[in-house]
């Protein structure tokens, strides 16, 4: 790599707040990150860590109970959060697009997949019906949908899980967006299909120079596709590094715990589980949110939240005790 390209996506101090039975609380706190064209940024964490809320905030698709309390999101240099709804819809699909875990709920059940893609294309490009349809079939070919002309006429329920996911990727990429946000895109798929879909996303990303933000709970997926990785815990970034640095030398005890907990079949050794469970976001401990489960927690960890600092060049972590561990 030579000079770094300007980011396709830049998120600064994002805070997402939810209003619910437990009052108002942050589900995402102080998240900052950027993704350059062609780069794959993975956000990894367990359920309730705020990774999906981050994804939805990027598209301005947050549920009604949630709102962006502060921070900014710039898509291709445009301040996405202050745009009016009309402009947001223009940019969605054209500049930033999303693929979801479960294509059945994300696709329209009463339109054929060809019509859905054509409709999206017509919203962003001045194309007639016929050429929009041709564009849709072309998009389905690009995702290697077998027998694309025929499949374009089919409805989502007529397709297998893997093909539905291909259709959704075709829909998301039809207008060649600069940023693609993928929330657990392969979690519902079998492992052989997962391999195909990950390969497909990478190929298309290379071809189009799309910045990819991939949200996942699966370190295996991270190891296969990421350039950079953010580890989230209880709504905050606890570590960020290149994929090599993260797997070679994880710094945060939570990241280390996650890596130790993944079964790899090496002998019959016990897995290094992380004791306890994730704290409720409305009832976070005062200091480091991970301290109650952390083997190396000190008194300071329990009283004061550690800031995210650069521990090594390009490798950030939020931990007081790292230097002593």
């Amino acid at each position: 790599m030579t000079t770094p390209a300007p980011p396709a996506l830049e998120v600064t101090n994002l805070n997402v707040r939810i209003r619910g039975d437990h009052g108002e609380f942050d589900v995402v706190a102080d998240m900052s990150f950027a993704a350059a064209p062609g780069e794959t940024l993975c956000i990894v964490g367990e359920s309730g860590c705020g990774k999906s809320m981050t994804a939805l905030a990027l598209l301005r698709l947050l549920p009604e109970a949630a709102r962006v309390a502060s921070g900014s999101i710039a898509v291709a240099g445009v301040d996405f959060l202050t745009l009016d709804q009309h402009r947001v819809e223009d940019m969605r699909g054209d500049d930033i697009a999303m693929i979801f875990q479960e294509p059945l709920t994300a696709l329209n059940p009463v339109l054929s997949i060809g019509e859905q893609i054509a409709e999206s294309v017509r919203q962003h490009r001045r194309l007639g019906r016929k050429s929009a349809w041709d564009h849709a079939v072309q998009a389905l070919r690009l995702v290697q949908m077998p027998d694309a002309e025929r499949r374009a006429h089919q409805f989502p329920h007529e397709l297998s899980g893997g093909m539905r996911q291909r259709a959704m990727i075709a829909l998301a990429l039809a207008c060649e967006p600069r940023v693609l946000v993928a929330d657990e895109p392969t979690t519902a798929l079998d492992v052989t299909i997962q391999a195909q879909i990950l390969g497909l996303i990478s190929d298309l990303q290379d071809k189009m120079g799309t910045a990819l933000v991939l949200i996942t709970h699966d370190l295996g997926v991270v190891s296969e596709v990421a350039d950079r990785v953010i580890v989230m815990y209880a709504g905050r970034k606890v570590e960020e590094a290149s994929v090599y640095d993260l797997f070679d030398d994880p710094i945060h005890p939570y990241t280390r715990g996650l890596m130790g907990a993944v079964p790899r079949g090496k002998g019959d050794a016990r897995l290094a589980d992380i004791p306890g469970t994730v704290p409720a976001l409305w009832d976070l401990p005062q200091g480091c949110a991970f301290a109650p489960r952390c083997p190396g927690a000190s008194a300071r960890c329990l009283s004061e939240r550690p800031p995210l600092v650069e521990k090594k060049p390009g490798h950030f972590a939020a931990c007081w005790e790292h230097d002593h561990v």
Partner: protein, 321 residues
Amino acid sequence: MSEPLLSVEDLKVHFPIRRGILQRQVGEVKAVDGVGFSIGKGETLGLVGESGCGKSTTGLALMGLVKATAGRVRLAGETVADLNRAGLKRHRRRMQIVFQDPFSSLNPRQRVSDIIRAPLDIHNVGTPRERRHKVAELMGRVGLRPDQADNFPHQFSGGQRQRIGIARALALNPDLIVCDEPVSALDVSVQAQILNLLADLQRDLGLSYLMISHDLGVVEHVSHRVAVMYLGKIVEIAPKARLFAQPGHPYTELLLRSAPALDPRARRRYSASHDDLPSATNKPSGCPFHTRCPLATPECSATEPALTPRPDGRLLACHHR
């Protein structure tokens, strides 16, 4: 060689396909189509495969929770004569099941102590006092606190609920537990806690497990031997180390090649090729894998290979391996 704890021969579960007003049977789905394996005492057999391969149906049929179309099952030297009726209750004392989803497999209106005690009540084991005692012991065994006995399932996290399910399965001192994707719904940090608990229980109680999972990492970690299923058939059974070091069946090979390596320096070269995947309703002729197999020849689409022993100690169903 002494008889294995559980032996299963030629197990079949076929579901009818019905159509029209009269619900006439127009065909059948062979979800499990002639499956056989054995499990020794204290042994874990991993049963791995992708969705729709019949692995869960196999487990449910062994428990009598779906009706087996055919098959012979022997448990601890006794033939389980009828997987569907009276013999079943006795059989269930020795064989229990833990389900995937700890949210839907526990009655939300029952207290934890009632859930764990239910098998003792149903099988009329011990006095009420002994049962209370047993429940407390089981809760300790799986890592639940005694003061949680009167709580309801919704007051527990996913991992704790899975502990409740395991305590319930242990109540009757079974010999074998069918674990149907026991950690698939859990986060990895909690998944590790449950896998460690299952390992401890096996060590302390000499339990055998049939570990049904789609996750190769989990299967590799817990199993002694592994059986690989594809479209209702077992295509390979081998000792764990041998199977993962050198997969025998081309399908096993595809599975292993598809699983992420957890090492960014050892990335797979994914093929973005597409399969038009067969399913149990439109099963290919001959070897069910021949439509996706790089080694396939005309023989493979004509005749189905039998699962036969090989010199290196594995069982394999392939014409070319």
